[in-house]
């Protein structure tokens, strides 16, 4: 019985060697350049905002504070309270004391970049477990948000 099984498997293996077709083995000598056929998919980030590009003035710009509040209600309030209490993201109270203006503006306009390389942003992601959405704010809008946050933190 055992001997027959061995014989059978030997015969089957041999048949593969003898009868397998060679056709598929031929390779095209000049493969098409895939790079040439397709285009890259560029991931676009905003440009990083430097501390030196932001001017902080006193007193607060009242127009920006109210503009910032309107944007907050539309795009931020779902996740951020104005107290220190965490909802989906951290509460905003004292955020302007904890973070630099550039950090805040980059977090708003360049969240993907920040989550990629900023250790503080990465810590927040571990805490909140939800990537902060890119809410599509231009720098001018983000600056208004900052003014509103300063006002919320008691600056005049």
């Amino acid at each position: 019985m055992k001997r027959i099984s061995i014989l059978a498997s030997l015969l089957i293996s041999a048949s593969f060697i003898i009868f397998s077709c060679q056709e598929g083995a031929k390779k095209d000598p000049k493969p098409v350049d895939v790079q040439d056929l397709t285009r890259n998919q560029p991931e676009t980030h905003g440009t990083e905002i430097k501390e030196s590009e932001i001017t902080i003035t006193h007193p607060l710009n009242a127009e920006w504070v109210s503009g910032g509040k309107t944007i907050y209600e539309l795009k931020c309030q779902s996740c951020h309270k104005l107290t220190g209490e965490k909802l989906v993201g951290p509460g905003w109270l004292d955020v302007t004391k904890r973070r630099t203006p550039a950090w805040i503006l980059n977090m708003i306009t360049n969240v993907d970049m920040m989550l990629e390389k900023d250790p503080e942003a990465q810590k927040l992601l571990e805490l909140c477990m939800v990537r902060m959405p890119n809410q599509n704010l231009v720098i001018e809008d983000a600056r208004k948000i900052l003014e509103f946050q300063r006002s919320n933190d008691g600056e005049k």
Partner: protein, 666 residues
Amino acid sequence: MKHYLLKFFIPLVFASVGLLWIQSCKPKGAGSAVSGDAASKVYVAPGKYDQFYNFVSGGFSGQMSVYGIPSGRLLRVIPVFSVDPEKGWGYSEETKPMLNTSHGFVPWDDLHHIALSETDGIQDGRWVFGNGNNTPRIARIDLKTFRTAEIIEIPNSAGNHSSPFITENSEYVVAGTRFSIPMDNSNGDVPINSYKQNFRGTLSFIGVDKTSGNMNISFQILLPGVNFDLARAGKGKSHGWFFFSCYNSERANTLLEVNASQKDKDFILCVNWKKAEEYLKAGKGVKKAVSYAHNVYSEQTHMATSTLEKEVIMLDPKDCPDMVYFMPCPKSPHGCDTDPTGEYIVGSGKLAAVIPVFSFTKIQKAIADKNYDGIYEGIPVLKYEAVLHGEVQKPGLGPLHTEFDDKGNAYTSFFVSSEIVKWNVESLKVLDRVPTYYSVGHLSIPGGPTKKPWGKYMIAYNKITKDRYLPTGPELAQSAQLFDISGDKMKLLLDYPTIGEPHYAESIPADLVMKNSQKIFKIEENKNPFAALGDKYARVERKGNEIHVYATSIRSHFTPDNIEGVKMGDVVYFHITNLEQDWDVPHGFAVKGANNGELLIMPGETQTLKWTPEKPGVYPFYCTDFCSALHQEMQGYIRISAAGSNVPISFSTGKTIPDSISTKTP
């Protein structure tokens, strides 16, 4: 025992060897008609883009699909004429009006042909049009959003097959009647065998606004009751003309398979639409009372509106001489295709043994010379020999459709002989032929119907799939085949399945479309009257027995997510605004037991789901589109109380409603 095994095993071993040999060395045929480098030619590496967008009619699915070429990867199915519960199309309150017609809400149609918008005879990547065959309609899809932006119904029409072919500056898309019928404003209750007296065909010219793309029926032309089949606009020198193939010049009303195949020649109708415009301006048109729906989707309000229009202007050739001419075409012509120069019109008689190629220059001369071969129902018939450039001899069996490359060649599909034949338009010589699997219908070459074919690839859309894929019961995948046409010989590269039944398709270089592709809807521009633009506006309101929930969604919660105070007999409208402003972050919305589809709400958009609760209880709702690590937490509850209950309206997120604990349902 041993002996028995030996007897059993040895033949078995040899049988397996034989079987292996047969399987691995199948003779060259259907399976292996592919050259060795085919795989690398269709391979698009992960993260890389295809070269072309391919817009494919979805046939009896009623939708349009979008593929990447050369990979054959399905990128999107755009809901057009059929409801699509996956996307809420035809289920959300905002999209329901898109499927309205003069017959009421029609949830399905049969989409056969594609027309990409053109500027100066070249695809411009702005819009793609599709026809509804069954309840005659034309749809316009906006290629910024890949969504159906407009649907217009065609009055005085049935079987809108000869549609939506387009002129070289997108001045018009057309709609020709396949089924002739009694006109809408006549008494349609007539004996069917009074066809010749009472049934007429029409061609509709639908104007397309240059900026908005909005459609409007500019005029119709009243014609004899033949069956209009396919069409192409002239281009270049023949711009201003349109060519429509037609069959059933016998005007049979029964067993057309036999009765409409009697004559040696049917017709191609040549329409001088510039002339028609002149007659229209001169007031030769007659206003006809009709009723047809015109549905427009607004990207500002994120809502569709449906308007019933009441009138069309009809031009009758008897009042408008020199506007239309018939051209004889053997036998039962189907495809009617103009070459990139606009000089040649190729007719494909389904039962013909030749492919006639007509010359625009000769057509003009025959008209000038009044070189007629009689009059058909009041319309001059041009002499066949006088308008013929020549015939492609013995091309194959059952020619259907012709597309063109960028080198002066034509490619014609042959249904009966299951092959594609490449021939030179000028010399009419057959250059190459290649088999298809099986029974090819339409062909598509990128830019094939335009002044500037991009060439490179050709796709065959086959009517029969049979053994090309793993079997899936009686119904099989529909099938497309991709060919490389860059060389002298056509080379098969790829088979891939398609949705519905693919008829015509068009392809366009990817960069013409992708640069305009919209990523989000700006929340600041959301003008939906039911939008909640921020959590501040999230609320629940009662209006009589209607409950309006104005809710927001963002990763990953709804505001409000606890709702009480709804009673039996109420109708609930969930208006969900997606506050996200990030690409590719839609939220879904579904509620248990709703006799409805889901909502799929794009970033910045508001959509509404209507729900009539069936019995008291607490019903969960949740986000259906995986949105974040806490997607599974994106849920809420709505409480339905008995009719006459005193539970007040209340709503919240992030806190339990204090009052609700003490509130008892009566």
